[in-house]
């Protein structure tokens, strides 16, 4: 009927910007600036391809050359990783930095992959979806290595707990992390929740995922083998997340097309759960030659990286991509960050089997192209070529900046103002009151309002989860072999000294893993910083990388991968440098892991490590005096290693009743937490044995209780095993400081607080702000 035909007639299509068209119209104004490219970057693109880019090519380069995808400000410093990786460290690495995630050998034929990434900016704009898709994205990275994801963790940082915007951001982020992780069925086994004014307006939402596979099942992101099919599978492509990694160029792309879209993606955990099971079936069937997830920069990234990592070219028919919105323009399809999509390279002989498996899971799969013997990535739109580029130039040969760096001028003054000048509590009652204040302070209070919104049990392999020091999961159900993971960072220490602060973060994560009884094996990092265009921030960044790289070399554990998040700042004010470090350790049998709480009466309590008067940057100075200044605690990686050895050996020997790391809040908080965990008290009669001052006199009670010296842990062993522990200690400094039992935390001669009082101070902080 003619009426209907009139209605359905599309508006006159704009001229398709083909390669041929671009070659013939060299002087067309292009929206490179709106897409976030710099003038010299645009000129560079023109030089690489010998003409002006088509709008589709421009879209691809703009997202792939964004800071997020290209690491253009940071990668010049990455050579520090390589320079500090020894052959011995490399031996444990099955896959190193550069792939979707690093892979390490944990023995018995098992490989484990893990990685932490940031989703900071989206989570500030749209907390629920930002956090949810952060979890979804890191899970796909792990899947694309060939692994079954087995656990997630979320290091979170927010502004002031009592700021109204924190009450907008935090509940949404927590619900998003839980909503995605719970629905996809991965246990959330740990992470961090930190509050500091410096994160106001720049919350940090980092997400870590761990996956496991047999060594022979490792898959890589590469497209090789001429004639092999390129398959896009999973969700349809929509208009969400366009330019999520760069800048949205609305004027140009909106003309006659879909209306403005938010740059934040929308997650569908159910689709991803099905995708996980489908991928695992595909791997098991042996029908996948190369695989890549679609995350930041969507199809632009997947096609160019797969082709760049392979040995030939790639041809893609973009009009075959299944769409949620038929009005999307080709450049938008290339930039879309729609979630829950994967791309596989499959040999033609396996195509039918591949499709049968995706059909079984009701996952839509479409052959959109193939590997060619050329050298270019060629993308067509209804038969016309709209992209014809060398894939390496898009994926791996983006710009590199050696940005200026300079030690910030404020540091001298900051370092000069230590905690020595702060008023210290003098009586036992004062110490007791300050302990209760600290226990209820935002960073040390009970976090179960948050962590109870996460499923920590699903999959049935969780041996330890928050609030213990590490998350521990079983990998091999026959033998109990498994892994422990901890993430840590004290941004205040990194602010005072980014080199030492980064090493302290590494040391704490290493120690937490060892405290659980696992031998530390590998590292991932999420480097959250301010603007790289600020020389002071760039100096912090360089110092932190140097600290991590040199620290890892000393400890003999390699960095396997990670993520850089810049531009976490508002105006001139950057966040504290926050290099979040994740350490992964291995246990032969995770049922032997050590928990952090006292379990029974009459266990002997030991403090291992050296305690000094180190309160600069401490939680006590932060909470009681709102003070930050001085120098962070001494880094002693040899001591960490020696302590770690004892903790692992003691767990292996099966003599540990409880083991707990000392960090923020020092011995006092560690003791209170160990008591509250299972409601078993302790009497500390050996506080004078904790440490000595420069003159050799016993440290005063306050310093002994609240100092944050590193390389320390509490260990409780049944009385009958005390000699066994002491025999393991070697030259690790130690003191037997008390005995478990009763319902109080009693520090003889200083104070007594009942566990009920400790819990009352500890448990109501978050419910008071966010509701029960």
């Amino acid at each position: 009927m003619s009426d209907t035909q009139t209605v359905q007639q599309a508006p006159a299509a704009p001229v398709l910007d083909t390669v041929e068209h671009a070659a013939g119209t060299p002087d067309v104004e292009q929206p490179w600036a709106e897409l976030g490219l710099k003038p010299d970057e645009y000129a560079n693109i023109r030089e690489i391809i010998g003409r002006r880019p088509t709008i589709a090519e421009l879209a691809m380069y703009s997202v792939m050359w964004s800071e997020h995808c290209s690491y253009k400000s940071s990668k010049i410093h990455f050579k520090l990783w390589g320079e500090n990786t020894t052959d011995e460290m490399r031996e444990k690495l099955l896959v190193g930095i550069g792939e979707n995630a690093g892979v390490v050998d944990i023995g018995d034929g098992w490989a484990v992959t893990f990685k932490v990434e940031s989703h900071n900016h989206p989570s500030y704009i749209e907390p629920y979806q930002g956090a949810a898709t952060g979890v979804g994205g890191i899970i796909r990275d792990i899947m694309s290595m060939g692994a079954r994801p087995i656990a997630v963790m979320d290091p979170l940082r927010f502004g002031n707990l009592h700021h109204p915007d924190t009450q907008r951001v935090l509940p949404g982020v927590v619900a998003g992390v839980g909503g995605y992780g719970n629905c996809i069925g991965l246990p959330n086994i740990g992470g961090e929740v930190v509050f500091d004014d410096c994160y106001q307006g720049n919350p940090l939402v980092n997400a870590l995922c761990v996956g496991a596979m047999r060594v022979e099942d490792i898959h890589l992101a590469k497209a090789s083998g001429v004639g092999n099919k390129v398959i896009l599978f999973g969700a349809k492509t929509g208009g969400d997340g366009i330019g999520g990694v760069s800048v949205l160029a609305s004027e140009t792309f909106d003309e006659g097309g879909p209306t403005k879209r938010p740059a934040v993606q929308v997650g569908d955990p159910f689709a991803e759960k099905v995708l996980i099971e489908c991928c695992l079936d595909l791997y098991k069937a042996g029908v996948v030659d190369g695989i890549q997830d679609l995350g930041g920069a969507g199809l632009s990234c997947a096609t160019s990286e797969l082709a760049s990592n392979g040995d030939g070219g790639m041809q893609v028919e973009l009009d075959l991509v299944p769409l949620r919105d038929a009005s999307l323009q080709p450049q938008e399809i290339l930039m879309s960050e729609s979630q829950e999509r994967m791309m596989a390279v499959v040999e033609p002989k396996h195509l039918d089997e591949f499709m049968a498996i995706t059909d079984k899971w009701d996952v839509e799969a479409t052959v959109i192209g193939e590997v060619t013997d050329g050298e270019h990535l060629v993308i067509t739109w209804h038969g016309e070529t709209i992209v014809d580029v060398p894939p390496r130039s898009v994926a791996h040969e983006g710009p590199t900046y050696d940005r200026p760096l300079a030690r910030p001028a404020y540091l001298d003054e900051l370092n000069a103002s230590g905690a020595a000048s702060l008023g210290r509590p003098e009586t036992g009652d004062d110490i007791r009151a300050q302990l209760l204040t600290l226990l209820g302070s935002p960073n040390l209070c009970d976090k179960s309002w948050i962590t109870d919104q996460y499923d920590r049990y699903v999959l049935g392999n969780t041996a330890l989860a928050q609030p213990d020091d590490s998350g521990v999961v079983r990998v091999d159900e026959e033998t109990g072999r498994g892994v422990a993971v901890s993430t840590d960072c004290n941004g205040r220490f990194a602010k005072l000294d980014p080199y030492a602060g980064a090493q302290l973060a590494l040391a704490e994560a290493y120690r937490n893993v060892a405290t659980a009884g696992a031998a530390p094996l590998a590292v991932t990092d999420c480097l959250n910083f301010g603007s790289p265009e600020d020389p002071g921030v760039m100096w912090q960044f360089r110092e932190a990388i140097r600290g991590i790289a040199e620290g890892c070399k000393f400890l003999g554990i390699p960095v396997t991968g990670g993520n850089v998040s810049f531009y976490n700042q508002t105006g001139d004010v950057a966040i504290h440098p926050t290099p979040v470090i994740g350490v992964l350790g291995v246990m032969d049998d995770v049922s032997k892991r050590s928990g952090s709480g006292f379990r029974s009466e009459d266990a002997h309590v030991y403090l291992l490590g050296t305690t000094r008067d180190e309160l600069d940057g401490s939680e006590w100075a932060h909470v009681v005096h709102k003070h930050l200044g001085g120098h962070p605690p001494k880094v002693d990686l040899a001591a960490e290693q020696a302590l770690g050895r004892v903790l692992v050996e003691a767990a292996r020997a099966g003599i540990v009743e409880a083991a707990h790391d000392l960090s923020e809040g020092g011995l006092a908080i560690a003791l209170a937490e160990a008591c509250m965990r299972h409601g078993v008290g302790v009497t500390i009669d050996g506080l004078d044995r904790v440490g000595v001052d420069d003159e050799g006199n016993a440290l005063d009670a306050f310093t002994a209780l609240f100092s944050e010296s590193s390389a320390r842990a509490l260990v409780a062993v049944p009385a009958g095993h005390a000699a066994e522990l002491e025999a393991l200690l070697g030259d690790v400094p130690h003191a037997r400081i008390g005995v478990t039992g009763g319902r109080d935390l009693e520090v003889t001669g200083v104070f007594t607080a009942s566990i009920a009082e400790l819990k009352a101070a500890h448990e109501f902080t978050l419910p008071a702000v966010f509701g029960a």
Partner: protein, 231 residues
């Protein structure tokens, strides 16, 4: 002793339920949502998870899966069926059990080690417990508030069909706003049991809050072995 565990798209605790069956001496048989085939099993578990994403009412779509075409008549004929969490939601949506599960009264997902009282120890899935026994197993859900009209609630109570009740906190509150603190119920015949908490996460030392979940699986395994011996 073969116990089927159904996998719907979005089932999450299916592998855990199968492991629990094996840990307790049974044989776990995988059943697929798309096949109206119970493979001759002696009992069926509908596991936890988010079937089909549960973007509509939980369990509302799973109810229409082909496997349910086989399961519903079998359950009505006496086949023992245990619905855990999402499985309980599927059982109420299928009208094998009365009432409904709605969003927790505090509006949040909640994962805790939960104390329960076993009120009925004579169902197919609870015969290894004692009536009045207190157990601690994992509770983890966003939509676990059990609701039904007064008449149904009275009927359940009157017929002893409340199988588990939550132990309430100091203020007398249960963890999700369930009417009359109901955590799990059974049908009149006692072969179909549904509950929100997760027994399959409490069957192995070191991986869960207790070993209290074993009783669910040993009950059915013992019972089926006995009935096989008597046959």
């Amino acid at each position: 002793m073969r116990i089927g565990v159904v996998t719907f798209p979005g089932s999450l605790d299916d592998r855990d339920a199968a492991r629990a069956v094996r840990e307790c001496g049974g044989e776990a048989v995988a059943l697929w949502h798309g096949d109206a085939d119970l493979k001759g099993v002696d009992a069926v578990i509908l596991p936890g998870g988010f079937s089909y994403g549960d973007y509509l009412r939980c369990g509302a779509i799973a109810r229409f899966a082909p496997v349910m075409d086989a399961l519903v008549p079998a359950a009505k004929g006496g086949l023992p069926v245990l619905g855990i969490c999402n499985g309980f939601q599927v059982l109420t949506e299928s009208h094998l059990l009365p009432g409904a599960l709605i969003r927790n009264d505090h509006r949040k997902f909640n994962c805790v080690d939960q104390r329960l009282v076993v009120e009925n120890a004579s169902t197919a899935w609870t015969s290894d417990f004692e009536a009045g026994q207190e157990i601690t197993i994992v509770l983890k859900n966003g939509e676990g508030g059990y609701v039904a009209d007064e008449r149904t609630l009275d009927e359940l109570e009157g017929e002893g069909r409340v199988v588990f009740r939550y132990v309430t906190d100091a203020e007398g509150r249960n963890p999700n706003g369930s009417y009359r603190d109901i955590a799990g119920i059974t049908n009149a015949r006692g072969n179909v049991v549904g509950l929100m908490p997760h027994p399959e996460h409490a069957v192995e030392a070191g991986y869960g809050p207790s070993l209290d979940g074993r009783g669910f699986f040993t009950s059915i395994i013992t019972q089926t072995l006995e009935s096989a011996a008597n046959a």
